[in-house]
Amino acid sequence: MALKILQDLRQAAVTSKVFVQRDYTSGTICKFQTKFPAELESRMDKQQFEETIQTLNNLYAEAEKLGGRSYLEGCLACLTAYTIFLCMETHYEKVLKKIAKYIQEQNEKIYAPLGLLLTDPIERGLRVVEITIFEDRSIGSR
């Protein structure tokens, strides 16, 4: 069902893209602005949008967290002259996979039925969250 919605979406005309920029007020950590873009006002619920972005921010914070686990990984890597990165998947990569799954899930459940598509920020160099707004031609855009 969700797949059909996504397929239908892609047959619709792409009208525009909205970019949610990074929020640097907490430093260089990966965090996106939760400000609701004006272009989405007619499309979706502000609460829902903020929830999505906040969850993404939390996931990225988890990836970049400085804690026991990351220090252990770092020290172990240092002792093995970083050759351990050749065999092991880093914690960050594991969280990125989680994020990808979350975005796909959000797209299927929430955004696709509204004619929107979230692009994983990693595909944009973690600079922006790109939201593509699809408009169905049959509705009559003008």
């Binding site: 397929q7 260089t28 400085l66 220090y71 990165f85 065999c87 692009t119 994983d120 990693i122």
Partner: protein
Amino acid sequence: MKNLDYQQIDPQALATPTPTPPPRPLPEHKPRRARRKWEVFPGKNRFCCDGRVIVARQCGVLPLTLGLIVLTSGLFFIFDCPFLVEHLTGCIPVIGGVLFVFVIISLLQTSFTDPGILPRATPEEAADIEKQIDNPTGSSSSYRPPPRTKEVVINQQVVKLKYCFTCKIFRPPRTSHCSLCDNCVERFDHHCPWVGNCVGKRNYRFFYTFIVSLSFLTAFIFGCVTTHLALRSQGGNGLVFALQASPASALELVVCFFSVWSILGLSGFHTYLVATNLTTNEDIKGSWSGKSGNEDVGNPYSYNSIIKNCCSVLCGPMPPSLIDRRGFVPSDDSVQTSPVEIDLPAAKNDTNMCTQGTKGLLESASRSPLLTSSCPQAKPQAVLETLPEIVPSPAPEPHKTTEGRQSTSTPHKHHSHHRTKAKQSTHHTHIPTPKTSNSSPRPHHSHSSRRKDSKNRDPKFNSLR
């Protein structure tokens, strides 16, 4: 006006979708194999092993660095170790060996790892950013407008984010554009000619390990060679005899003597930087030292604890490479983006042709004259406020070359040239229906290729990202 005519004609002409799926807009893509992203990478980097290994175009004196290290260590193991093992202890070659391995591995990792390159903005992103920037000077400027900055408050410090004209993004804090590599690099430290690469967020720990282990190695070899010569000259024979008996030691002594001071100095300097969570770039510019007379300036990124700073810089989580070198260039990327690209310039052309009629705009108008109908009414209104300098991606090619990207602009030009062709051939069949269906696998395709990449297809090179 021309455009009004087009507006009237279009709805009827394009009302019914063409029954046959349009041919792929880039016929030359058909026979061509899918290309990997590293092949169209716009920066001045070179790639080896099908994108697994990245180096700066100018490898600097990396061969010299490697050569010196290997030569000196080799001479040490061949000429000094036998004597020392016999007279002192067998641990010496072991310690030397471990240090040597550490040095070589960390050097290669520093040189061949992506330092934290930020990929350039997609055309839609660039257009979106341009829209948000105010430019009161108007449309007549043919030169580069004044540098754009954005201010952000981090940890009660005002930090200015500069706009990068090459990458078309506002640089994140601590990011700098390296002119040698022609890339924006996150947490840019410096471009090191000795390792032939930039030192940035992702490879700073390798660089630090390299210089620290190299200083240990150099000091170790220096000490051992001195001991060796001292022992040899002890039997009443004198230093000259000792040198004659082992001439290689003299060479090692000279090399080590001159390098140990500089390497030790560099290690000390970088230890200070790590402890205060600064980069060489920031230190040199005096970003946080209160140079500008502002007493309240302090490093907003520091945790104010030496241990925490060290841990976060050296043992923090390893960020992923953002440039996805081994991903495939989506072959219908130009198809996917062209409808979007065409929307904006077409709408702009409405206003610009009415107000200006400049050559470049006429060019882009001729490429996409029939597209105005597809733009929703609301869109031109929003775009009316935009600047005429927002040029669609293929157009600013002359602009790009004036920025000095000569040899490297070729792959990028090539890529944007495809987009131009896409526009030309797709404007007649603007109905994106078949095109977007073609592009349906795109988000997943590029994503799955990333996943494949991270699933250790070739585990050996996985870390060299």
